[in-house]
Subunit: 243 residues, 2 copies
């Protein structure tokens, strides 16, 4: 049997947000690889081998998937959210570029990415043009993050930030807030959306003036409105109209 690799997005946490397409791929898999907490979301069954691995070993995991597919296995790589947004799809193609064997059959299955789940819980803060920025400097220089932030603010994009803050770089998110206050002013709305759609979900919206760095951690997606973003009742939304 020809081996396959399917990169599947599990969505932000709630099982009711896993698409039937992803569910079907998991039902057909012989092997599931991924970061430990994501593999833990896949039910064990006879004929399925689970291969949980640690964080920051994305290329090793992709190569493991390529090796198993070459052996004729039906491999699913699981990501949380959408696999194409700061997740495993790019890592697989990076590994494929260096892969010496024949390429396996590959499919990427989209999922509900964290920023859109967070936006839905908050209202519609991304209802006009917006951007998504990974604030981790693991894979890019910090100067580039600052440069992008300023240009995004000058373009008046609404913004979504992934990986806003980790224990190893707590000062960087403070710097992000400082830049945003300079570029967008103190009254701009910001939403901290933690562990969206899970039992730990917590949303908090305020102005940039009121925001402090410790409001974000690695389970938080941060949404910043554009100049027109406002509240209606308990909701936050960005009007469709601009300029």
């Amino acid at each position: 049997m020809t081996g396959t690799i399917t990169v599947a997005g599990l969505g932000p946490g709630d099982e009711a947000l896993v698409t039937p397409q992803v569910r079907q791929a998991l039902d057909r898999a012989t092997d599931v690889v991924g970061y430990i907490p994501y593999v833990a979301r896949v039910a064990a069954r006879p004929g399925l081998t689970l291969h949980p691995s640690d964080n920051r070993v994305e290329l090793d995991r992709a190569n493991h998937a390529l090796t198993m597919a070459a052996e004729g296995r039906q491999v699913v790589i699981v990501s949380s959210g959408d696999p194409g947004v700061f997740a495993m799809a790019s890592a697989l193609f990076e590994a494929l570029e260096a892969w010496q064997g024949p390429p396996p059959q590959i499919a990427i299955l989209p999922g509900i990415t964290a920023m859109l789940a967070a936006a839905a819980r908050a209202g519609a803060p991304l209802g006009h043009d917006f951007c998504a920025i990974n604030l981790s400097d693991n894979l890019k220089p910090w100067d580039l993050v600052e440069h992008r932030l300023r240009l995004a603010a000058q373009a008046d994009f609404a913004m979504a930030f992934y990986n806003p803050r980790s224990a190893s770089r707590p000062h960087q998110f403070a710097r992000v807030l400082e830049i945003l206050r300079q570029e967008c002013g103190p009254d701009r709305l910001i939403t901290f959306a933690r562990a969206v759609t899970t039992p730990d979900e917590h949303l908090l919206t305020m102005t940039l003036a009121e925001a402090t760095p410790e409001m974000a951690d690695m389970r938080t997606v941060v949404l910043v409105g554009n100049a027109a973003t406002r509240r209606v009742g308990d909701w936050v939304y960005t009007p469709r109209r601009a300029g």
Copy 2:
């Protein structure tokens, strides 16, 4: 019974991409409102009234939903893709802002938005920081579109364009391609993804030098890579690493 409004994303077209959460909301609805082709995706059943409406009447539709919810109905507003991305969620909150009655219970249910479905079919072109821009000038001045495009290119975002081209403004997308060639150079990769996940699906990737305006229509999402976006086999991907 208290009325409710649920704004639900149906995804890009394939029924296997409709989340169980959205399916359940549709099963419980007494009324479904939305643009004609989206309401056509909802199966008729006893106890459910379908209210299809024309395009560009988003506020009328939102007010209709508010009126029915005030009468105790369980209303679902359907959007294609994700309701928070250039769709009905913002329109509902705009209508709610002007609404005189008591506010109904509201829920926004995310869906697979077109750019992420298109990216998955192409590979992982949005695998690094990216932005989403609605190229229609119905709701914003064209100058703002051009300004945003240039800043997005200077920030080296990968880009997704919704509503790239309509019969009423065919020249504007030609101008977009011209600006992109100026800012990103002729070799930058661009993907035209039409009617993704439907029987009419058609994907085409090329360089900006090779792209022509008529490759896009209103059923197309256009994806533009960043400076590092490249091909591997038949796939297009943006590496996670930058700078």
